[in-house]
């Protein structure tokens, strides 16, 4: 094993794979992917439903198929990877990053890397973090854990199911559990809108007659050994349960799909600054974190809705990491801060160095609630440069806007770019 590499990629899921392929194609030589699971592909391996790759490959693939398109490229390009290998520490000293990892074959070892790409993905919000009152029996699973059981182990985590949260995994699992023989009694969603894609609500719930109860939440879990039932209540506009609306639903399983949290414990240990809104690293135009030479992409950076965007973003991170490892990046001179206004929750990136943009800069963001018939406006300092009519903007769907370098260069005193949702013309 090479203990010195140009680019070390933490995570062999869709983000890590795309970053590796892009880095290799843009000339980086020594790349190493470290993956904690038994195979490359990350969470896509358990996403056996279709709907992946419509943007990237113009065809409908399953999760494992989508992953394999990248795994093949990694194999063809001869990019080395280690499986069942978990990174336990990353540190930076001068221009070198030290990545300590552990696996059965090599024990504990440290790799010296010029650049690091963080692609660790995210975890699901747990029952504990949601603080749902009640007993703590068996039968409470995050939707992803249940998905692993059903799709990879062929085992049923339960037979009568209530799903809390209408995130995409929850919707997908409502359909999957139904197809595998379980009775899914309800999907309850605390918010007045779903956090999942519209197409998933139609294809996973409506097609199977599974009720989606918006503004409803689980307020109690019954059962001492195995779940016996849950109490669902309607929530008011402050997301508090409304007394008198409680309904007991007997079930043996509660699946939770209540949000994803980027897994940035390693990043924090390294000293990377996080954005409290995304819980992911603060990054610049190169998707480079506050620690020079450390890049981030995919769900560890911010939670995505479509894997196609993960690949696109990771590709950019891989190219920038390669440029960094090669050396000779343009010096940072013209720095611009990105700001959000009027319902835009965050932007990725949040800093731009104009010299380092190739031709255009993709800015990804999400909105905080449902917006209809609004304008998406971009200001350079105080000047409106983009104004797009948007029929609907949903919190569950990631948005993006492309900023042209030539436009930015027209504003020599450009200090802030503001992305805003505006109602009035």
């Amino acid at each position: 094993m090479d203990k010195r590499v140009d680019i070390l990629i933490v995570g062999g899921g869709p983000a890590g794979l795309a970053a590796a392929v892009a880095a290799k194609k843009s000339g980086a030589d020594r790349i190493l992917i470290l993956e904690r699971d038994e195979e490359l592909g990350g969470i896509l391996n358990q996403c056996i439903h279709n709907g992946f790759g419509l943007h990237t490959f113009k065809e409908e693939l399953t999760g494992p198929e989508y992953a394999s398109r990248y795994i093949w490229q990694v194999e063809e390009l001869g990019i080395p990877y280690l499986l069942q290998t978990i990174v336990i520490d990353i540190s930076a000293s001068e221009a070198v990053k030290l990545v300590t990892a552990i696996n059965k074959e090599n024990g504990i070892f440290t790799i010296e890397a010029k650049a690091v790409v963080l692609a660790m993905g995210c975890r699901e919000r747990s029952r504990g973090a949601l603080n749902i009152p009640g007993y703590r029996p068996a039968g409470i699973y995050s939707a992803g854990t249940a998905q692993r059981y059903v799709n990879m182990e062929g085992r049923m985590p339960g037979k009568e199911v209530v799903v809390l949260g209408s995130g995409d995994i929850g919707l997908i699992m409502a359909r999957r559990m139904t197809l595998e023989g379980a009775k899914v009694k309800m999907v309850a969603e605390l918010m007045p809108y779903s956090g999942g894609l519209k197409r998933n609500i139609v294809q996973c719930l409506e097609d199977y007659g599974i009720p989606l109860k918006l503004s409803h939440t689980v307020i109690d879990i019954d059962g001492r050994e195995r779940v016996k039932g849950v109490t669902v209540a309607e929530a008011d506009e402050n997301r508090k349960p409304i007394p008198g609306t409680e309904e007991y639903i007997s079930c043996d399983t509660l699946l939770l799909s209540c949000g994803l949290i980027p897994e940035n414990e390693l990043s924090v240990g390294l000293g990377v600054s996080l954005n409290p809104v995304t819980a992911g690293p603060v990054v610049n135009e190169s998707l480079e974190t506050s620690v020079e030479g450390v890049f981030a992409c995919g769900n560890v950076l911010h939670v995505h809705d479509l894997v196609d965007y993960v690949s696109e973003e990771a590709c950019s991170a891989g190219e920038h990491a390669a440029a960094y490892a090669r050396g000779g990046r343009p010096a940072e001179e013209h720095k611009v801060t990105l700001k959000c206004a009027g319902g835009v929750r965050y932007t990725v990136p949040s800093l731009i160095c104009v010299e380092r943009i190739d031709k255009e800069q993709v800015v990804r963001f999400r909105v905080g609630s449902v917006y209809k018939d609004v304008f998406l406006t971009v200001y350079y300092n105080n000047t409106v440069v983009i104004k797009q009519k948007k029929r609907v903007l949903l919190p569950g769907e990631m948005e993006q806007i492309k900023l042209k370098k030539v436009e930015m260069e027209k504003f020599p005193d450009l200090k802030t770019i503001t992305v805003a949702i505006e109602r009035e013309g």
């Binding site: 904690r36 069942q84 978990i86 336990i88 552990i102 696996n103 059965k104 074959e105 090599n106 024990g107 504990i108 975890r123 699901e124 747990s126 029952r127 504990g128 973090a129 603080n131 009152p133 009640g134 007993y135 703590r136 029996p137 068996a138 995050s142 992803g144 854990t145 692993r148 059981y149 059903v150 182990e153 062929g154 085992r155 049923m156 985590p157 339960g158 037979k159 595998e180 023989g181 379980a182 307020i219 109690d220 879990i221 001492r224 050994e225 195995r226 349960p241 043996d252 399983t253 414990e265 924090v268």
Partner: protein, 480 residues
């Protein structure tokens, strides 16, 4: 026919068993436990505090055993290799009018023999604990207070007792007790047991067992305490255990670091009827965050990783009931062991063993093994230890729980050591796999797989905590 049977494998029963295992009993000593694992009742859900001993009324058993238990804990933690830290406690006073209550506590503490107690003022409080509320005008500082891992302590005591010859019977619920000429006959869910002496350490159910043999009835009320546990990211928010001046229902809501580096708040104190009522409630959690929040500048509520509830075994009299039952010779009650029961456990063990020995003398074992080694964890190991562990068994390089850095090697150790884990919760309490921020989302399937493999079972047979707490319910499409 046993010489002694201890009913209950919580911290109290385990401490008594370990103490008895120092003696050569010909007819043997056994522990009967209704649950599928040790430490499944009150011992698993409490504050994990080693109290200094200033709360109990001087002269009570609680007062006497608390100070002794606190003193014993350090040595015991070295012998039995469990996490214990003397982090000191502060009892906050928020109102000048309450200073006399604080003085009273100081006086009680000194009478009880607590060392190093002193009153500190606001400035020193802030110096010691910058995140404690500015409203705290003074505090009682007890440097001898500490924190312990309640599972670690209980497992250490039980494993050591087991290694020294005490027999443990799990999934064994005592249903009836009958006096016999030689002692007592116990009818259990796993058959008949007979013993000369019975030690009743059955926690919440100690009254039910007592009442089977005595006319003088006991009554134990389950007093619920709810807790919130916070991410290690805020584990250093306070370094001492922070109490408020006590109320009628106990020592109030505390804020404390845990020995494993989390932050914890709790407990509430509500008397309930259901002895299995370990559910958390919306009101309870809201109440504890509100009351605990008075002690600190800000409650990092966004960092809560789980909440849980435990039930204290509160006896109507308010003190521990540790005595031979008047009308049932050879039947020793160890009942009403509520706070500071965890602290007292080592002292209760000695005290009860003394009572047993008085009735049934036995020589000291010459080959008693005083020491026990804990599961070696990768998380706390230094580089050298880590390498040595991996060299011994490469499974120590296979990380199963990424949040707490627990490896396959540790889980295998937890399964195969004396009184090893057979359930997901059993592994969790012994190794911390699943106790981290993702709350077992990633590691549970892997742990289940290791349990099944090591125990020679199918994964469908593995439970969360015994009984019908099945993790899986069959195969895909089995019902289609």
């Amino acid at each position: 026919m046993y010489d002694v049977i201890v009913i209950g494998a919580g911290v109290t029963g385990a401490a008594i068993a370990r103490e008895l295992s120092k003696y050569e009993y010909e007819g043997k000593v056994a522990v009967l436990e209704r649950a599928s694992d040790i430490c499944e009742g009150t011992s698993k859900a409490n504050s994990g505090i080693v109290h200094a001993g200033h709360d109990a009324t001087p002269g009570t058993l609680k007062a006497k055993l608390n100070v002794l238990g606190n003193q014993r804990m350090e040595q015991l933690s070295k012998e039995l290799d469990f996490p214990f830290k003397r982090n000191g406690t502060l009892v906050l006073c928020f109102d000048g009018k309450d200073r006399d209550k604080m003085q009273e506590l100081l006086k009680k503490g000194r009478l009880n023999g607590v060392e190093g107690l002193r009153i500190i003022e606001a400035e020193e409080i802030q110096r010691l604990e910058p995140n404690v509320s500015n409203e705290a005008c003074a505090a009682l500082y007890a440097p001898s207070g500490g924190i312990v891992c309640p599972f670690g302590l209980t497992a250490a005591l039980a494993e050591n007792a087991c290694e020294n010859g005490v027999e443990f019977y799990l999934n064994t619920k005592v249903e009836r007790i009958r006096k016999s000429p030689a002692g007592y006959v116990l009818q259990t869910s796993a058959g008949i047991f007979e013993s000369q002496i019975i030690v009743n350490a059955a926690g919440l159910y100690a009254d039910a067992l007592h009442n089977m043999v005595s006319e003088k009835k006991l009554h134990i009320v389950p007093r619920k305490g709810e807790y919130c546990l916070f991410d290690k990211a805020v584990g250093g928010y306070v370094s001492h255990t922070i109490f408020q001046l006590p109320t009628r229902y106990g020592k109030g809501v505390l804020v404390t670091p845990t020995v494993h580096g989390n932050l914890m708040m709790g407990p509430t104190a509500v008397d309930i009827e259901d002895k299995e009522g370990t559910n958390t409630t919306e009101e309870g959690i809201a109440d504890l965050l509100k009351r605990g929040g008075l002690s600190i500048k800000r409650v990092p509520a966004e960092k809560i990783i789980t909440s849980f509830a435990g039930l204290r075994a509160h006896e109507d009299g308010g003190d521990f009931v540790i005595e031979e039952v008047e009308d049932a010779q050879g039947f020793i009650d160890v009942a009403g062991i509520e706070s500071p029961g965890l602290t007292c456990a080592p002292a209760i063990g000695e005290y009860v063993a003394g009572m047993v020995l008085e009735r049934l003398p036995a020589p000291k074992k010459v080959d008693f093994k005083a020491c026990r080694e804990a599961i070696r964890g990768m998380a706390d190991a230094d580089e050298e230890e880590r390498k040595a562990l991996i060299e011994k068994n490469p499974a120590y390089a296979n990380v199963i729980c990424r949040c707490e850095l627990v490896t396959e090697g540790e889980i295998m150790d937890a399964i195969h050591r004396p009184l090893g884990a057979t359930t997901l919760d059993g592994v969790k309490r012994r190794t911390r796999a699943g106790m981290g921020r993702c709350q077992s989302g990633f590691c549970a399937p892997k742990t289940v797989e290791i349990l099944a493999r090591e125990l020679g079972k199918d994964i469908g047979e593995i439970t969360k905590s015994g009984g019908s707490s099945m993790f899986l319910t069959g195969y895909d499409k089995a019902e289609v």
